[in-house]
């Protein structure tokens, strides 16, 4: 068997931390190879080494049988390695064509690429318009642009960093068709993900990392999803199950909510109705950019709504600010962790204090009692297993998953009557996601109501009893999961009627 890329015993340290410790990885010709691991397992470091953005401390690589040690991404691209990034890779104010040209070496502006782009677009079913400005495109379309940008380099290896985290089910299956076609045409794919069912569907091999070390290379189909997840996190997963579903009386309702968006590219909400009962977990599925942000703004109270639209315990709360809503025992976890849910440049203690009303015992006569604040933060850090040296660390210094655990904990220790959470596990690895899900379930078991707005359909399906779909600013009725529920949800997500 021929290997396109062989990575042997690569080590890379940052100070005392070994981000990659003696890691090896072999990718066969024309295969789709998965790289699995939690946040901080060393996946990104390994990929950066392969792509030339980082130099390993020791170890060697072979590319098509020859020694390979790229000093920068240009060199990697020259060798035929292309990468679709998870974040930060497109330029919003430039057109699709300009974006594509930027990623290609040795191509000037004078060459007309429109035809070339359209050729790949057709061949691999990647629908794009070269003259459109990227800022106007959906997430899925942006990813198609990135893939075309890579394909124009005729790569022998395409690295994809969590490509499906933001796609609709339809887009995911389209992407898989494209990837399989590419592998057939001789391009190997290194597929980084923590979505195990996807890995089992399209990858022929998987390499699993944990804490910078190689756990195992295996054929993903030989293992169950649960086994793979346990290899990734190194311990047993808790089974998610509601111990008792005890649905009580109505606690929160949205009645005929319509709202024009202030933003030119925003989504107008149209006639949204929703009822939430005590002890229930309600999910709103849907692809990002269909009104989730606008809805969340109104629910949190960043924007006030007209009389009678939002009711909490029969009280009209439309005009209350978020602090006042919190005092009524409604709590929120917004999607954007840094800059919305937490102040990046402030410590965990300070962030703890900021979402608290005056009466919480953290202040006396307006003076902050730091010892009391720290005791609350320590409690969250311990109970929710937040990995941080101390509660004095800046919020931005924590990894996304850790900060998310802190923010979930911060709201949950208040025992909210109603918790509204957007994307609870976005960018969070399997182990932490499992913890967060478990905490949400315990909260609901104890009688609180929870509203989850998430793009992750699996999350919604595994947690929620009542599921709605938000599409183009309209919220569907609750979907009956018994009769082809999943199919219905998929249709609703792409804007179809059911």
């Amino acid at each position: 068997m021929n290997y396109q890329l062989e990575v042997s015993n690569v080590t890379k340290s940052y100070g005392d931390l070994k981000a990659n410790d003696n890691v090896s990885l072999n990718i066969k010709d024309s295969s789709i190879h998965a790289l699995l691991g939690e946040n901080g397992a060393g996946k990104s470091t390994l990929v950066k080494i392969i792509y030339g953005s980082l130099m390993p401390d020791s170890g060697e690589m072979k590319w098509g049988g020859n020694s390979y040690s790229p000093k920068n991404p240009f060199e990697a691209r020259e060798n035929g390695i292309a990468m679709v990034f998870q974040h930060f890779s497109l330029f919003e104010s430039l057109t699709v064509e300009e974006n594509i040209i930027l990623g290609l070496d040795g191509v000037g502006l004078n060459q007309n690429f429109t035809d070339e782009i359209l050729k790949y677009s057709k061949q691999y079913g990647l629908d794009v318009n070269p003259q459109q400005v990227v800022g106007d495109l959906s997430v899925g379309a942006r990813q198609r642009v990135e893939i075309i940008r890579c394909l124009l380099q005729n790569p022998k290896l395409l690295i994809m960093d969590e490509p499906t985290s933001v796609l609709t089910p339809q887009e995911v299956s389209d992407l898989f068709v494209t990837l399989k076609k590419l592998a057939n045409d001789g391009c190997s794919i290194l597929y980084i993900s923590h979505k195990l069912e996807e890995v089992r569907e399209i990858c022929s091999e998987a390499t699993i990392l944990r804490g910078g070390q190689l756990v195992q290379s295996c054929v993903p189909q030989d293992h169950s999803q649960k086994e793979l997840a346990e290899m990734m996190i190194g311990k047993k997963l808790t089974e998610l199950a509601r111990s008792k579903i005890n649905i009580g009386s109505e606690i929160f309702s949205i009645n005929n909510l319509s709202e024009k968006s202030d933003d030119l590219y925003g989504v107008d909400l149209e006639n949204i109705n929703l009822t939430i009962r005590q002890g229930s977990i309600v999910g709103i599925a849907g692809v990002a950019g269909n009104g989730q942000d606008e809805l969340m703004e109104l629910l949190i109270g960043e924007k006030s709504s007209s009389d009678g639209v939002l009711k909490f315990n029969d009280r009209d709360i439309g005009s209350l600010g978020s602090h006042e809503r919190r005092q009524l025992s409604m709590f929120f976890i917004p999607e954007e962790r840094l800059g919305h849910g937490a102040v990046p440049d402030m410590s965990l203690d300070e962030n703890m204090l900021l979402s608290r009303p005056e009466s919480s015992g953290m202040t006396s006569n307006g003076v902050i009692d730091w010892i009391s604040v720290a005791s609350y933060s320590e409690k969250v850090i311990n109970e929710y297993n937040v990995q941080t040296p101390s509660s004095k660390m800046l919020a931005k210094s924590l990894s996304g998953g850790n900060l998310q655990k802190f923010m979930v904990g911060r709201e949950l220790i208040r025992n909210p009557e109603l918790l509204i959470v957007s994307q609870p596990t976005w960018g969070v690895d399997a182990g932490s996601a499992n913890n967060i899900h478990q905490s949400l379930i315990s909260l609901a078991d104890a009688g609180s109501a929870i509203l989850i707005i998430s793009q992750d359909l699996d999350e919604i399906l595994s947690l929620c009893e009542q599921i709605h779909v938000l599409s183009e600013g309209r919220l569907s009725d609750s979907v009956d999961m018994k009769n082809n529920g999943l199919e219905k949800i998929s249709q609703l997500m792409v804007g179809g009627e059911s």
Binding site: S53, F91, E92, S93, E98, L102, L109, V133, G135
Partner: protein
Amino acid sequence: MNESLFINIIIGISIASTPLIFAAIGELLVERSGVLNLGVEGMMIVGALLGFVVQFHTGNPFLAVFAALLGGMAISSIFAFLTQFLLTNQVATGLALTLFGLGFSAFAGRGYTEETIVLIKAIHIPVLSDIPFIGPLVFSMNPLVYLAFFMVYLVWWFLFKTKQGLILRSIGDNHDAAHAIGHNVVRYRFMAILFGGAMAGVGGAFLSLVQVPIWGEDMTAGRGWIALGLVVFASWLPFRIILGAILFGGITVLQLHAQGFDIRISAQYLSMLPYLATILILVSLRIRLKNKTNRTVPNCLGRIFHSTS
């Protein structure tokens, strides 16, 4: 209005707006790369002094302009080093650069305040310059005026017609992404800042080599700040710089002629006009663009770039 007065006004406007065009087109490129350099005023005044000093000692206008260009670059390199390598705050560093430039030029120029030099003359092309009306308007300008217009074209061509220009714009739009695909953010920004310094230097020298034959402390009189405003006014589009500069230059000239026509307004009020106009235009621009995303604004403007790998 008679013909010669009209021609005089047009020439006056061109003279008044050229320093603004130079400084603003340089700053435009800098801002397109995502850097906000508030030191334009300081770089201009250093250019004005150096141009004057070299013209005074050598009498060679080429050397004088070249010295101003190098002077502007040299002082901007301080800014470039501090912000790009030591990652200092761009606003504070830019302000410091302006204060430094003003102080330095006042100090170094002490011995020249009583001196005068020979101004750089407008060109005269036989036949062409003698065509009535068209000749004086099109073929008899100061050579630096033509250069200013050419620089605007050059910057436009660079930004929108070359790969390097596209890369520079991409760096201004999203420096992390540009870095991720392997472009050298710091190098592009460093070069852009030097270009901005060079243009500000030449713009400053225009004041002491073309407008008046003397050197005086603070002779830039806030033109650097107007140039900064012009970049926003132009929505970071090169050719709009010309439009804006002519507008501001026009107000300056209007102010002079109003005095000449014995219009009874205090000179102080008229001197306020260009600055008032700057504020009004910036405000009206903001109102007009409200609720619209402007695709020409560099998203990374003023943000510090930390390379993470």
